[in-house]
Amino acid sequence: MNKKITYGSGIQTAFEHVLENYDESFIIGQGLWSPWYVGNTMVDLDKKFGKERIIDCPVSENSVTGTALGAALNGMKAIVVHPRMDFMVLASDQIVNQAAKWQSMLGGGIKIPLTIRAIINRGGEQGAQHSQALHSWYAHIPGLRVVMPAFANDARNLLIASILSNDPVLYIDDRWCADLEEEVTELQELDIKTIGPKIIKEGSDITIVGSGFTSCQALEAGKELAKDNISAEVIDCRVLNPFNPDLIIESVRKTGKLLVLDGSWKNCGFGGEIIASVSERFIDFKAPPIRMGLKDSPAPTSKPLEEDYYITIHDIVNNAKSI
């Protein structure tokens, strides 16, 4: 059996690969010299590559993101880390109004190798401002590539592809994936433009689509459904913007059934986008598609409420059976 790696170590390996091979790369963000903020994904990078290149910084999300953008516009491969995606909302001007738009507004031809790493860090009774998965907001914005890996090898290769891209990329990783393992595959420098949704389990009865942690859940649910002889095809979106739904449409043509998982709220969310994209080109559903998401409230802190708040494998299996 091949060696396994965790999702978190995949991220660590990607950073080490880029820092070793690209002198113009650097990382700035809160908590980079501390294990409290970024888990096991950036261990001792400051000791290995120096505090000049691994910059722990003031709690100035907007300015730090703009600083990274300015460095990216001036020859650096800039990586900015937001250990809680909620706090990154303060940097939305630099992400949405600046990084995503300079290419178009200034007529094109501008290299912007900026990677914005946002960590979704929910659960653990952290509550409403340490829990949000805001991928749908940012996937709305033309000019901003949005990448959301679910598995360890993708966590590594998609992060490398994000950093090597000449476009601003929002790379969203999930703390709930950090310890999940996968058999290691080859480290690759991929062109982000060639990466899109991927079938992670083939099947013929129903298509289940996830992004980030919900793709891990979809895979688990698919295994459960197999026990009841339901063959689920599971697709991991991986890249939310620009979004290419072709693979999902092809799958639904085969299965006629669609269940979409979104680790955030349903209204105006990415789950709805997937169903809309399929529906525009395919109407012969065997049953109406279902989207699953969070309950329409901010994240609670109290344990029983929190347990009720997030999607469970049990609910996914039940919904899949109900279609």
């Binding site: 100035s60 907007n62 600083t67 300015g70 001036n74 300079w102 290419q103 007529g107 912007i112």
Partner: protein, 342 residues
């Protein structure tokens, strides 16, 4: 804490500049640059009024001395970032009046290939990294350019132009702290023209000097007459040297006056703004007239030379504008082709 004191009174301190830093020939070049920026903006103003130009144009007529003097000491690998009122910032580095006209008219020959208009202009090869209208947005970008210069151990500097109103957005303070703490070679140039859109500074802030924020972050600063080219040359030389050689930020507060309204051709004197009494005295403190007077008193130029410069530049710019009017618009496919890097 620094205060503007007499600098805010246009009737005081409006003597002509003492020309000592440069040669007469160099001052004449600067005068021609200022005239070029002035006439370019007057042409833009006229065509906003006539309706030929539709996109919002924020004119900096009266503020020309600041970018022209700053640019005197900048190199093409330095990086300058602007804001919504950046025609002068751009032209002082590039003198590309044709590219600016075409851009404002939305033509493919524009400096941003017709994708940006007046508020989003770029001239990367000559050091102008870009301007955008969200007023504080380019300040951290300029700081980031400074960080790139520090990390790559280059001797370049970055410049951030902004107005007094910008200091009311929080990212300015975050950015001053970062530039100061990390010793980044950034020159912050606050063009204090007393107005944020329609509101006078006295209606928005307890104090009138923006450089107090530099002081708070331990950044060396100077408050100067921004309509006196000699003062701006002297201070920008010092500031750019500090950034280039000592690798540290500097903050210049150049006090000036926006002779036009917030946007478009209008003077904004009849719309309830606090400027009716100030406008005429500030017109007498015009930076172009003051440099002209100094050069005439040194016998470096005559009044008729000045007229001749104006005539020649005006003819050239009007021809360029006519050419830009007849240029093609961008192809429709350019819309989707410029979203991501190609």
């Amino acid at each position: 804490m620094k205060k503007l004191n007499n600098l805010k009174n246009p009737k005081i301190g409006n003597e002509d500049p003492q020309l000592q830093l440069l040669s007469n020939a160099e001052y004449i070049v600067l005068l021609k640059k200022m005239i070029t920026i002035r006439i370019a903006e007057e042409i833009i103003s006229d065509n906003v009024k006539s309706g030929l130009i539709k996109c919002p144009c924020h004119l900096a007529i009266g503020q020309e001395a600041i970018p022209v003097a700053m640019s005197q000491f900048l190199h093409s690998d330095d990086r300058v970032y602007g804001n919504h009122r950046s025609h002068g910032h751009y032209l002082s580095l590039t003198m590309d009046t044709y590219g600016l006209f075409a851009e404002i008219l939305g033509k493919e020959t524009g400096c941003s290939k017709g994708m940006g208009g007046s508020m989003h202009i770029v001239g990367e090869s000559q050091g102008f990294g870009g301007s955008v209208p969200i007023v504080s947005a380019t300040i951290p970008v300029a700081v980031g350019a400074g960080l790139a210069m520090k990390l790559s151990k280059s001797q370049s500097v970055s410049v951030s132009y902004f107005g007094d109103g910008t200091s009311e957005e929080g990212v300015v303070h975050e950015s001053l702290n970062i530039a100061s703490y990390y010793n980044l070679p950034v020159i912050f140039v606050c063009e204090n023209n007393f107005f944020s859109s329609h509101m006078h500074i006295s209606e928005r802030q307890k104090f009138d000097s923006i450089s107090r924020f530099a002081d708070a972050h331990g950044i060396e600063s100077a408050v100067i007459d921004g309509n006196n080219i000699e003062t701006v040359l002297d201070t920008s030389k010092k500031a750019i040297q500090a950034a280039r050689l000592q690798r540290k930020p500097f903050f210049i507060e150049a006090v000036t006056y926006r002779l036009k309204g917030h946007v478009g051709h209008d003077d904004n004197v009849d719309v309830g703004l606090q400027r009716k009494e100030d406008l005429e005295p500030w017109k007498r403190k015009d930076p172009i007239d003051r440099l002209k007077n100094s050069l005439i008193s040194k016998s470096a130029i005559s009044e008729s030379d000045f007229e001749f410069f104006n005539t020649v530049i005006s003819e050239k710019l009007n021809k360029e504008f006519d050419q830009a009017v007849s240029d093609p618009y961008p192809q429709k496919q350019q819309l989707l082709e410029t979203v991501y890097y190609k």
